[in-house]
């Protein structure tokens, strides 16, 4: 069972669909027209952005009653878009532009979490006590430092005292990484991680109990999750496929999810 690319593609015979964007941009008339072209085409979201918007709609905000903004995982995008390198590059460019913010939560593996920047700012304003240090953090640190972690020396350079740093840690915006560095975080991140890990374990347990450790995807969606797993079945399915904990096999009755060994 192998999916081989069609032979005609190697000799350049299959005609590639040329979208109107490239033909329009090749016509160089005036600078104004070019600007109009750029702005017109930059509004359409890239594949990764579209995937992020779709996944965001799957996050059940109402179950958390406003305690959490829509939090997504980077490997969920891999389940939607096949080319992982492209997804990584797009996410990094979104992070550099400041549209999205990445956090590293949890000890195991690289569980990178994505939150849209504007929603993150709203969430912080809502949940943190209104201290001047928080405002400074929001205005200075978030736009400047796009990394997942920050060193103590850099914080001191930007003018944060020891007392202010402990205030930030208490508010839930920084977490201790080692003696001289911090991870970025957001309030109620612990609650998210707890629900996420519980939900993931319970879905994996459901599949493991099935015969041959495999189940059709639509059957899994019909099964009810336990009450503690608030994130929803579809969220966890995307997460498992992207993290390669299950293998997707196309069958005549739909997609089959089979647990990979280990």
């Amino acid at each position: 069972m192998s999916k081989r690319p069609s032979n005609s593609n190697f000799y350049g015979q299959s005609k590639k669909f040329r979208s109107s964007a490239s033909s329009a941009s090749s016509v160089q008339v005036t600078a104004n027209e070019r600007k109009v072209d750029d702005s017109y085409f930059s509004n359409t979201p890239s594949d990764t952005e579209a995937a992020l918007l779709y996944l965001k709609s799957k996050f059940p905000i109402e179950k958390f009653e406003g305690r959490l903004p829509p939090v997504l995982l980077v490997h969920q995008i891999y389940s939607v878009i096949k080319c992982k390198t492209l997804v990584d590059r797009d996410v990094n460019s979104l992070q550099a532009k400041g549209v999205v913010r990445l956090f590293k939560l949890g000890g195991e593996e690289t569980a990178l979490v994505v939150v849209y920047s504007d929603e993150l700012v709203n969430h912080i304003i809502q949940h943190c006590p209104t201290k001047p240090v928080i405002n400074r953090f929001l205005k200075e640190l978030i736009p400047k430092v796009q990394d997942v972690s920050i060193d103590k020396t850099l914080l001191q350079e930007l003018g944060f005292t020891q007392q202010e740093m402990s205030d930030l840690v208490r508010a839930g915006l920084l977490t201790l990484r080692s003696t001289a560095s911090f991870w970025f975080s957001f309030p109620n991140a612990g609650e998210f991680m707890r629900t996420y890990l519980k939900g993931r374990k319970s879905v994996l347990r459901t599949i493991r109990k099935c015969k041959f450790s495999e189940i059709l995807q639509f059957e899994l969606e019909q099964r009810k999750l336990e009450k503690s797993a608030k994130l929803g079945m579809l969220y966890h399915i995307h997460d498992m496929i992207g993290a390669e904990l299950v293998k997707c096999i196309e069958t005549t009755s739909g997609t089959l999810l089979r647990l990979t060994k280990k």
Binding site: R4, Q13, K82, K84, T85, D151
Partner: protein, 407 residues
């Protein structure tokens, strides 16, 4: 393809494009070969393979019990159904053979009169192919995991040896002794590779999670240690930069020498640019890899999206190097696959595993299909003609002019 050939003839397309297109097509379409195989004479799991670079005729394999075998790959029988025969072998009971398992074998890059093997008995042996006796033996302090000799070196005859001691040894074949020790790793080195572009550039990987690039002419330490985060994403307290989060199991340069692929026990494959040492951040996904010894993997030659064939447990995965997309999974071995080697002339893959098999993966399917039809038609035609041909033969063999009465 006919249109393509016409374009080449007319001069619209350059001839090299045809080579590229055809090799790409063949490297994508690999499947287990149904009609050709390698005579199964191995008495233990096969650890290492090599194909000689000059003619592509001989396949050298080293096993876990210390025996070595050489098979002839070329098919002169005229039928697609062919078993590559064993030409010569070194039995494990020979006094001069390796006492424990053979970990790495390599033909002398310039002709097939010599080959070099190394193994767990802490020895590197240089064999004369015609006598099948070792011409020279080097003993080391640590178990040898891999050795490599540069394919393009004209001014030196150095063999780099990666062993369980912390430094890389360079053995000079002309003088017959160890000339260099490259110190830089803090744990046993698992793999070493010379660059196919620069004859003095060496890449080594070890159990301390690092990949180091060396210029062997320099008196000071290594050129660069490859960093998986490219300098960012690290806290100040983590002073060392590592290439992987686990042991570095395998290294392979692309044939133009511009990129280096490293394979680690953190289940990741990473692509590095050789000249800047930059991690190209290509995401191949998780490739299960739990073996603590050296894994040999290979990259296609002269195909346009280059493919890498990576052994992982019982499977061989095919990935596109630049985009990280998984093209195919080759299933065929019953046990772990230890090494894969790509034949540059036939565009075939040979893989060796612990199940004592060496499998051939080929792209020549239409030939096989035609042969099957030929076999079927032969079976149908055999019945009416059989008796007549036998009679004819008997008549030819019979002797009609000598008589028994004479003499």
């Amino acid at each position: 393809m006919i249109q393509f050939l016409e374009n080449v003839r007319a001069g619209i397309v350059e001839p090299h494009a045809l080579i590229r297109a055809e090799s790409t097509k063949r490297s994508y379409n690999l499947q287990l070969c149904k009609h050709r195989d390698i005579e199964s004479v191995h008495t233990a799991g096969v650890n290492a393979l090599d194909v000689d670079t000059m003619e592509g005729k001989y396949l050298l394999s080293g096993s876990a019990d210390g025996s070595l075998h050489i098979h002839d790959l070329q098919n002169f029988t005229g039928s697609p159904h062919f078993t590559s025969k064993l030409i010569c072998k070194v039995d494990r009971n020979l006094r001069t053979a390796h006492r424990y398992s053979v970990e790495c074998v390599q033909w002398y890059p310039f002709d097939s009169g010599l080959f070099i093997t190394s193994g767990m008995d802490k020895q590197l042996k240089i064999w004369d192919t015609n006598c099948m006796k070792p011409a020279d033996t080097f003993s080391f302090e640590g178990r040898v995991f891999q050795h490599h000799m540069s394919r393009i070196a004209t001014r030196n005859c150095l063999v780099a040896v990666a062993s369980s001691v912390n430094h890389i040894l360079l053995v000079d074949l002309k003088s017959g002794s160890c000339t260099h020790e490259l110190r830089g790793h803090s744990s046993s080195t698992l793999t070493c590779r010379w660059s196919p572009r620069e004859e003095y550039l060496l890449a080594t990987g070890s159990c301390d999670n690092k990949v180091l690039l060396w210029d062997v002419r320099a008196a000071k330490c290594c050129l660069k240690s490859l960093d998986q985060h490219n300098g960012k994403g690290r806290s100040v307290s983590e002073a060392t930069n590592t290439a992987h989060d686990g042991y570095v199991n395998g290294l392979c340069f692309t044939h133009d020498g511009l990129f280096l692929l490293s394979y680690g026990t953190d289940h990741r494959l990473r692509l590095w640019s050789t000249y800047s040492g930059h991690n190209e951040m290509v995401n191949y996904g998780k490739i299960p890899n739990d073996t603590k010894k050296c894994m040999q993997f290979d990259i296609t030659v002269s195909s346009d999206p280059k493919l890498v064939y990576v052994p992982s447990e019982g499977n061989i995965f095919m990935y596109e190097i630049q985009s990280g997309v998984k093209v195919n999974t080759l299933l065929g071995h019953y046990n772990c696959v230890n090494s894969c080697i790509y034949h540059p002339f036939y565009h075939e893959l040979y893989s060796a595993g612990n199940d004592r098999n060496v499998l051939i993966w080929t792209a020549d399917h239409c030939q096989g299909a035609v042969y099957e039809e030929h076999l079927k038609s032969q079976n149908q035609k055999k019945e009416p003609f059989e008796r007549r041909t036998l009679l004819v033969r008997r008549n030819v063999m019979a002797d009609t002019w000598s008589s028994d009465e004479e003499g």
